[in-house]
């Protein structure tokens, strides 16, 4: 026998406040879903198909592409260029996201945690500016900064003639991406630190804990969850980031060719669309794994 229990207000009453009804609701949802299906989902599925063909931009294969099964994937996995790019991408993600943005973002958030005045606004403002300026502009600003003859960096360090982008391309793009992306982590940790109960920190301080000990014993336990989700999210973004192309175009000599740039060079400049699609599929799969992991973590936390 059914019994009446007190449900929460949300569950209790019909949510269809305007009386939209299912048919109209479907009509409301349809256009967005149609667009997403055609311009987002379909290409994602198409890339898997493409990866299984020998499609090229020009030549015979362009007119009559043949189904080649897993050939492209096999080729990708045994291709030196692919592994070079993968290794470079690992360095890129580890260096600029996992270490760079997280450490820098947290440091700034921690340093500014109790302040409210102009110093905080200026620092935060500059960090955010680095993030919101268009990619093409900041890329050129760093080209100017790193210019061997008259760039500001060499002027400051007193080493004119040092060619950063030519001799140390990976270092350049890692530092560049750290600079560019820190704002997100800074805001996130700023909010997370704000949620740490001040009474916990004060109890630790009264018990004689130093700043470092407070960090370790009070703060990190509280924000541990945020660190992990933050790491996953920015790793995902950095893994897919195409901006290094604007700075080095993958050069010189493939020495800064992260996977995103590699796909472009191989497929669109080189014309090997089938092969490029296989690499893209691999990228999609990696994205999928990270995203699922991230969402699962989020769900567990809420």
């Amino acid at each position: 026998m059914a019994r009446a229990t007190s449900l929460s207000e949300k569950a209790r009453y019909s949510a269809d406040a305007a009386g939209l009804g299912t048919p109209r609701a479907v009509a409301f949802v349809a256009p967005a879903m149609a667009l997403i299906a055609v311009f987002l989902v379909f290409p994602a599925l198409w890339v898997i198909y493409l990866g299984l063909t020998n499609y090229r931009l020009t030549g015979l294969a362009a007119a009559e592409p043949r189904f080649v099964g897993l050939d492209n994937f096999v080729k990708a996995v045994s291709d030196g260029g692919f592994w070079n790019s993968t290794w470079l991408t690992v360095q890129f993600v580890l260096g600029s996201a996992v270490i760079g943005q997280v450490v820098l973002g947290f440091t700034i958030a921690w340093l500014l945690r109790d302040r409210r005045g102009p110093l905080k606004r200026v620092v935060e403002g500059l960090v955010i500016l680095a993030w919101i300026l268009p990619g093409a502009v900041v890329s050129f600003l760093w080209i100017a900064l790193l210019d061997r003859d008259s760039g500001s960096l060499n002027a400051l360090l007193g080493i004119p003639g040092f060619a950063w982008l030519l001799d140390h391309p990976m270092l350049s793009i890692v530092v560049f991406n750290t600079w560019r992306g820190t704002a997100f982590s800074m805001m996130l940790y700023g909010a997370a630190l704000g949620n740490v109960p001040p009474s916990h920190l004060e109890s630790a301080r009264l018990a004689g804990a130093s700043g470092w000990q407070q960090l370790r014993d009070v703060v990190f336990p509280h924000i541990r969850g945020h660190i992990l989700t933050n790491l996953l999210l920015i790793s995902l973004w950095t893994f897919n980031d195409f901006t290094p192309f604007l700075l080095t175009a993958g050069g010189p000599d493939h020495r800064s060719e992260v996977l995103a740039v590699h796909v472009y060079n191989v497929a669109l400049k080189g014309g090997e669309l089938g092969f490029g699609a296989a690499v893209s599929t691999i990228i999609l799969l990696i994205n999928l794994v990270v995203a699922v992991f991230y969402l699962r973590l989020l769900r567990r936390r809420s």
Binding site: A17, L35, P43, V47, L111, L141, L246, A277
Partner: protein, 272 residues
């Protein structure tokens, strides 16, 4: 006492280093446009505006800003319209499979990035002869932004009280009347936020227009900027500096406007 002083010194040193790190690369953008005959060096500007003439002289510079505006606003309009409709229906009506759909949307928006989709999009555009279509580009950009937009707007609509709609309903208003008279005015802040977010995302987007537009007259600011410093010959620094500045100003203004009006509510996704 000394520990305190050392601590203070350490703090300010660190802050100074960080400030330098974030400021130095930006200095060129502030100084060079107003320096006659700028080089890569950063020096005190002599406050000339002569460099800005370079923008007018270049055949595609000003036009590209217009293209950026076209793409950004076009995408924003489409995103807001479609996302609002979908978000409202998803918020108010218990459609079958709704939760699975929302999860899928969240997943999609994270997985299918420009990098992952560039090959199929390009190939499809070539096949279907859609290269060089600004409309096609807008549709693709909209498709990319829609999942997150729907998700964010639905969240916003969920927290809007239903009593306004129910009240209008009992007074005899039809569902469409309710949406127009009551819902739209109520969710205007949410719509504005999504519009600004869309514009900001499209304004700086380089890969998609670079990939899918071939006519240089249709290219937005991002691509023209890139072209300017990668085409052969001596880089036109007066043009690069002024164009870079001009191209950056709108997003900065938008950010300032949004944070003033709505208090920059973005905290890396954490509820404060």
């Amino acid at each position: 006492m000394t520990r305190f002083v050392l601590g203070r010194i350490g703090f300010y040193t660190l802050i100074a280093v960080l400030l330098a790190f974030f400021t130095v690369p930006l200095l060129w953008l502030a100084a060079a446009p107003f320096t006659s005959n700028p080089t890569y060096e950063v020096s005190l500007p002599d406050f000339t505006v002569a460099n800005f003439a370079a923008i007018l002289e270049h055949p595609y510079a000003l036009g590209s800003l217009y293209n950026s505006l076209l793409l950004a606003v076009g995408t924003a309009v489409l995103v807001v319209l479609l996302a609002a409709l979908a978000a409202y229906a998803l918020s108010r009506v218990r459609l079958p499979g709704r939760d699975a759909l929302l999860y899928a949307l969240l997943l999609l928006s994270s997985i299918i990035t420009g990098t992952a989709a560039m090959v199929p999009l390009f190939q499809l555009a070539v096949e279907l002869d859609l290269i060089d279509s600004q409309l096609g580009l807008i549709l693709i950009l909209t498709g990319g932004l829609l999942p997150a937009a729907v998700f964010m707007l639905k969240d916003f609509m969920d927290s809007t009280p239903k009593s306004y709609e129910e009240s209008a309903r009992v007074f005899g208003a039809s569902p469409l009347q309710i949406v127009g008279h009551v819902v739209v005015p109520l969710v205007r802040p949410g719509l504005a936020t999504i519009a600004v977010w869309s514009i900001a995302n499209v304004w700086g987007n380089f890969l998609m227009p670079y990939l899918l537009l071939s006519d240089i007259e249709k290219q937005p600011g991002a691509v023209i900027m890139f072209t300017l410093y990668t085409e052969g010959g001596q880089a036109n620094l007066p043009l690069l500096s002024t164009f870079g500045l001009l191209y950056s100003v709108p997003v900065v203004l938008m950010y300032l406007f949004v944070s003033k009006k709505y208090g920059f509510r973005f905290h890396g996704g954490i509820k404060r």
